[in-house]
């Protein structure tokens, strides 16, 4: 009898106590293993880079995130351009590893670039950020942070993920962050889209009306590099060509956890 009662209770959303994730950056259980997250050049032991693989990878990448150079044979991956389609992993599973980690945000644009070559021993471009950062995060979240989201021509994928931050499951307001209606009230600008030419002026005005100290985060492949749209007659190829950017969050679109991670990196900068 009691078991039955519990069953009914579980399916009744109106009487659920709590759905909000507790440790949003630690609980990886809810992210499926096949989520295309962190992408890195992590070769198998007996992997040999040759021009065949290099050329194929370069050709298969829709956004030219992968480039192959010869000589010396080296391959580079610009995560900022990547739209996480997964084509490269299918092509060269021995070299390209995609995990379901979301901690992909970087403070400098050139940190998004990863290089692998046969001659130079492979080093990871960024270290695992462990306990040290966690403490910092806790300190920073003691403060209140006002965020203004600006769409500079995105496909609305990033907007869906950003608005998901405010849903009861991710609920960023409990960390002291909230979205405000005007750049004049904001500490931080979350900018998405490849910065279309038509939005250039509006983005500049919004940046200038944000009071100092201000932070700017480029959200998504488009904002980092232009993404699949690249730089063309109607786009400017990344928002850093218009306003200074503090943190780049790659992803197409970046999942809510990745956004929180990026925001925390930005807070670290003040």
């Amino acid at each position: 009898m009691t078991e039955d009662n519990q069953k009914i209770k579980k399916s009744d959303i109106l009487s659920w106590d709590k759905v909000t994730l507790d440790k949003i950056l630690q609980s990886n259980d809810m992210i499926p293993g096949n989520f295309r997250g962190k992408i890195s050049l992590d070769p198998d032991k007996d992997f040999v880079l040759n021009s065949h693989i290099g050329q194929n990878l370069e050709n298969i990448c829709p956004t030219n995130a992968i480039s192959y150079k010869n000589p010396p044979e080296s391959i580079s991956l610009d995560v900022g351009k990547c739209i996480f389609c997964g084509n490269c992993q299918q092509e060269a599973p021995q070299l390209i590893k995609i995990s379901n980690n979301f901690d992909v945000a970087k403070k400098r644009k050139n940190h998004l670039l990863e290089v692998f070559s046969e001659s130079v021993p492979f080093g990871k471009t960024y270290e695992e950020i462990g306990n040290e950062l966690k403490n910092k995060i806790n300190k920073t979240f003691g403060r209140s942070l006002a965020i203004r989201e600006i769409d500079a021509g995105s496909c609305n994928g990033c907007e869906i993920e950003i608005s998901a931050l405010t849903n009861p499951i991710y609920d960023i307001e409990r960390f002291g962050m909230h979205f405000v209606a005007s750049p004049r009230h904001a500490d931080l600008l979350l900018v998405t889209g490849p910065a279309s030419k038509n939005m250039e002026k509006a983005l500049k005005i919004a940046y200038e009306s944000t009071p100092e100290p201000k932070l700017v985060i480029a959200v998504g492949a488009c904002a980092c590099s232009g993404g699949i749209f690249g730089k063309n007659y109607a786009t400017t190829g990344g928002i850093d060509s218009i306003v200074p950017v503090d943190v780049f969050i790659p992803g197409c679109p970046p999942r809510p956890q990745a956004l929180i991670y990026g925001i925390m990196l930005a807070l670290d900068k003040i």
């Binding site: 959303i13 499926p32 989520f35 021509g153 496909c155 609305n156 979205f179 038509n198 699949i228 679109p253």
Partner: protein, 539 residues
């Protein structure tokens, strides 16, 4: 079956007193070339009145190299039978203009503005067309002409855009945008208000213009699939499916039955998570945050389900030409069913709460009313049209993929049509709210109708090179409505012209009519009840 319909329409055409050449292509496309192109307006009027056709889009194409002229295809479609009409005219140097169809189909003006922007060709006699997509671009830049390169660096040159002035005692103007207060896309609205009431509203869009149609011409067709997913992030399946179907039509590729089933599953999953989001947005805009956040939870669960199945929360990377990339097993199909059952049990409970809450229903009822005549005159499609009693469901009228094996006799849209006739529904926000609820339940039914997946391959490779300058029309019903993608192939499997007409492009103009005589505070909820994509409009 379809041959009979085509024959029926061909015989109807022959009875008209016009001289033309015609041929049938891709099963359901009738291409007509008039001998005397000056009779075009007359011809289209007769198609509208006698064969009951609706203008779907106008496709302009720079064929100066191959045909020594620009070509213009008026695409008309039927809402009862699976047939499309392409009326083709050629515009050469002698006539640097084309006839305006706005007397027959008033909404053709939007397509004419688009053509004026992108090709620099005007309608006959009209020089007052406002720009649509290009804001502060240099003059004499026509991006979709073949002699313009996609990567041309353009300078910032301010262009004037004048909103229609509304003057009178006590009338104020409120400019809003392009950056809005919420987390939404960019667009500018100019309200003219008398006290609280809106007497006129003019939209200016195009802020998210990214040159999608142009850059597709320099991409391989496999990459264009990825590009089409990013036309509008929340319509990724509908758009990529329409593009893939266009290519599959040109290549005459019959994709495996299982991949058709998987495409249907994902298309309906996409519809479900987006409708939850929109319903939640409507409730949020009338200040009922309890219901809004409950529905947000359901949307999030749906997105988590999407991710479990495909590796992407927005279903990116599911479709490919010749099938799908993501396989679904029968066990995960059972998971989808049980998950949907749970979610919909909760949904019905929340809905009961909402419907018994008079402060919500009172805000929704009689707000943002659109008349049936307005819907007809503006060529509105999808959910925005069914709330006024006009059914334009592509899944039913032009069945594609696995939808052709589904019986569409008892759709909720037919019910809605009946309710509008009985004047129980009047095209207000509440009727759009309820038609979304109906759609949700129907999508669940469609998913449940697939109890067993076929065995076999999920993808057939595209082997042969496609014939240069062959064309095909792909279509799908996104959660916003009819989505059309027309592709003309170029040499070496490149794309010569890629024309996208999303439901948002067709529908945006209705908002200017829906807000009239409403108060400014109701604008957000009216806007949300239509749920248009800015990016899908601006391309």
């Amino acid at each position: 079956m379809n041959n009979k319909t085509i024959e029926h329409y061909m015989s109807k055409l022959e009875h008209l007193e016009f001289k033309f050449k015609s041929h049938v292509q891709n099963n359901n496309e009738i291409h007509i070339e008039l001998e005397d192109s000056s009779k075009l307006i007359e011809f289209c009027n007769i198609l509208k009145l006698e064969i009951n056709l609706r203008l779907l889009t106008m496709i302009y194409c720079d064929e100066r190299k191959t045909n020594h002229a620009f070509s213009l295809r008026y695409l008309l479609g039927s809402d009862t039978d699976d047939v499309f009409f392409f009326v083709v005219i050629f515009i050469d140097k002698k006539h640097a203009y084309f006839p305006s169809l706005s007397d027959v189909f008033p909404y053709s003006i939007k397509y004419e503005r688009e053509i004026n922007d992108m090709f620099g060709i005007q309608t006959q006699g009209d020089t007052t067309l406002k720009p649509l997509l290009l804001h502060d671009f240099q003059k004499n830049i026509f991006p979709l002409r073949k002699d313009f390169h996609a990567n041309t660096e353009l300078n910032y040159t301010p262009r004037k855009f004048e909103f229609t002035p509304i003057t009178g005692d006590g009338i104020c103007e409120i400019p809003v945008g392009p950056i809005h207060a919420g987390i939404i896309e960019p667009g500018h609205f100019r309200f003219s208000v008398l006290g609280e009431n809106i007497v006129n509203m003019e939209t200016r869009l195009g802020y998210a213009h990214k040159g999608i149609e142009k850059i597709a011409e320099n991409m391989s067709i496999n990459n264009v699939v990825l590009l089409s997913e990013r036309i509008s992030g929340d319509e990724s399946i509908a758009n990529s499916m329409a593009f893939c179907q266009a290519i599959e039509k040109i290549a005459q590729l019959e994709i495996p039955e299982k991949s058709k089933q998987i495409r249907l599953l994902f298309a309906e999953l996409e519809r479900i998570y987006n409708h939850f989001g929109t319903l939640s947005g409507i409730l949020n805009d009338v200040g009922f945050s309890y219901g809004a956040s409950r529905l947000e939870i359901l949307k999030e669960y749906m997105m988590q389900l999407n991710e479990k199945l495909s590796g992407s929360r927005l279903l990116f990377g599911v479709n490919q030409i010749g099938g799908v990339k993501v396989d679904i097993s029968n066990t995960s199909l059972a998971d989808i069913h049980s998950m949907l059952n749970d979610i919909f049990q909760n949904f019905e409970k929340i809905l009961e709460h909402i419907q018994s809450n008079s402060s919500v229903i009172d805000r929704l009822r009689n707000t943002g009313i659109i008349e049936k005549q307005t819907v007809n005159d503006l060529g509105i499609v999808g959910l925005s049209s069914i709330c006024a009693g006009i059914d334009t469901d592509t899944r039913k009228n032009h069945p594609y993929g696995y939808y052709s094996s589904i019986n569409f006799e008892q759709t909720p849209r037919a019910d809605m049509e009946q309710q509008v006739k009985l004047q129980k529904r009047i095209g207000d926000v509440l009727s759009r709210f309820m038609s979304r609820v109906d759609e949700l339940r129907y999508s669940k039914k469609l998913i449940e109708s697939i109890s067993n997946l076929e065995t076999g391959e999920i993808h057939i490779p595209l082997e042969s090179e496609l014939i240069p300058f062959s064309s095909g029309l792909g279509y799908a019903e996104s959660h916003r409505g009819e989505t059309l993608h027309w592709v003309m192939m170029g040499e070496d499997n490149s794309i010569f012209r890629y024309k996208i007409r999303t439901a948002s492009f067709a529908n945006w103009s209705v908002i200017e009519h829906a807000v009239l005589n409403n108060i400014v505070a109701d604008f957000p909820v009216i806007n949300k009840s239509f749920d248009f994509s800015y990016s899908g409009n601006d391309l």
